[in-house]
Every structure is written in C-alpha cells, then in structure tokens.
Point group: C2
Chain length 143, copies 2
C-alpha cells in the first residue's frame, strides 16, 4: 500500500474521490485509517466495518464498475481540531453519458493521525429513488 500523507481533510478527500474515479484499491485504502474501527456504508447497502471489510467492498465495487467520473459539491462541514466531518453531494457521470446521475449524499469523517488526515467513515445514501425526488418528509414510513 502506498504511504501517502494528507496534510488536510480536503487533501484526503481529494485523494478519496480521485482513487474512486481511478478505481484504484491501493490509492483508496491509503486514504483510510488502518483501523478496525473504520466503517463504510455504500448506498442502500449494509455497513462494512473494519479495514478488511471496507477494502473488500471497494475491491468488488471497482471490479464491477465501468469508467465513470465523479463531481463533488461540499454541502456542510463540522470542524474540530482533530476530526472533520464533511457532507458532500456526489454526482456520477457514467461512461459517455452527458448528464450526471441523481446525486448521492455522503457524510465523510476524517481523523488527524500523527502523519496525516485519514478517512474513518463514509456513509453514502441516495437523495432520491426511482427518478423522482421524494416527498420532503415521509417520516412515519421512512424514519
């Protein structure tokens, strides 16, 4: 695994999406903390907990995925000295398609380690399902 160091959460996040787009497992796992406490939730999927499960999830995703690009828009940030939470919208553009797919909302958590900021959590979820935006608050049924 390459020994990358990221001086800021933003640098770690740029490396995360760049590894995602490149479908590079080594580059992806260099962004994550090497810990059993990390967790990754792909859209609509069960949580993957711990370094091995997170890596296995990305490996199978990269093996299945074709070429795509991803545009990322920052929505919100919660900044502490050693931990930063960033909420972003991800827009995937698949293959030669002209327009991005409906956005995915992601909560990304980064932790400051001795040498680098590293990702400890990625929780991604759809903002809409089936092509139409949902009613604003479907509370009783969905939450």
């Amino acid at each position: 695994m390459p020994n990358h160091a990221y001086p800021t959460p933003e640098a770690a996040e740029a490396a995360f999406y760049s590894a995602f787009e490149a479908r590079s497992l080594d580059a992806m796992m260099a962004v994550w903390a090497n810990a059993d406490s990390i967790a990754c939730i792909h859209p609509l999927a069960a949580p993957l907990n711990g370094h091995a499960a997170v890596a296995a999830g990305w490996r199978s995703m990269f093996e299945a995925a074709g070429k795509f690009r991803v545009q990322v828009e920052t929505v919100h940030e919660i900044r502490e000295a050693t931990q930063v939470i960033r909420i972003v919208r991800e827009y995937l553009i698949i293959g030669q398609e002209a327009k991005p797919r409906p956005p995915i909302l992601a909560t990304n958590v980064y932790r400051k380690e001795t040498d680098s900021w590293r990702m400890v959590l990625h929780h991604a979820s759809p903002l809409q399902v089936g092509g139409t935006p949902p009613a604003r608050t479907p509370p009783v049924v969905l939450h």
Copy 2:
C-alpha cells in the same frame, strides 16, 4: 428548552430516541449541540444544516407523524476521547402494526461538551427501497 445533561454518548442516544418516539421537540433539541455546525439528514431528504433548520425539520416531522415506537440496534462504533460515532439500525413500529418497517441505517455523531455529550450529526438512510433488499453493490448506477 430543558437543560438536560448526558454523561455518556449512550445516554444522549437514549434521550434522542426517546424524544423521537415521544415526538417532543423540546426533548429532541436538548440532545443536540446548540451550534450552527450541526447537521441532520432524514432518509432520502436534503441535509438540514444548523440548529434552526434541524429544529424545523423535527417540528414538521413530529407534526406529521402518528404514534410509533422505535427499536434501535447498535451496529458499529468509532470512539475517540471527545467524539463518538455510532452506527445503528432503527426499526420503526407504526401504530398498532405487529412487525417493524424495514430498517433505517443511521450514523449518529456525539461530541463531548463541558457539561454533556450532545449530538452534532444524524445521517439516516434506507437499507432497502420498495420492499426488496437491493443488490449488494450497485456501484456504477448508485454510487
């Protein structure tokens, strides 16, 4: 707003789900940090950022909701000295229904303040849509 103090993240989380079930806005907002940096993502909805927006979201949810119970199952935890991330499955039982609805997955982040642990982030998302569990990794389309 009542001045509750929660000695542990678990106590804050119990108060959060108890306020949710009771549909009590005062009790709910007592659990959250009183800060503009907090964020709340209800299933399939756009993020609500800052104390006022988070409160407005719960208010409209509580006004719309009928009686329900919620069962919570801890899935994973990331523990730091002053910040704890808990991933849980939420099972809602609506009215007199015998069985819970399909689970919601939630990432809950708590921060240690001077007097209490308080919630700073709640990101909830469906684990399945339309009654059937999704394929394990629908990467290109959904992420």
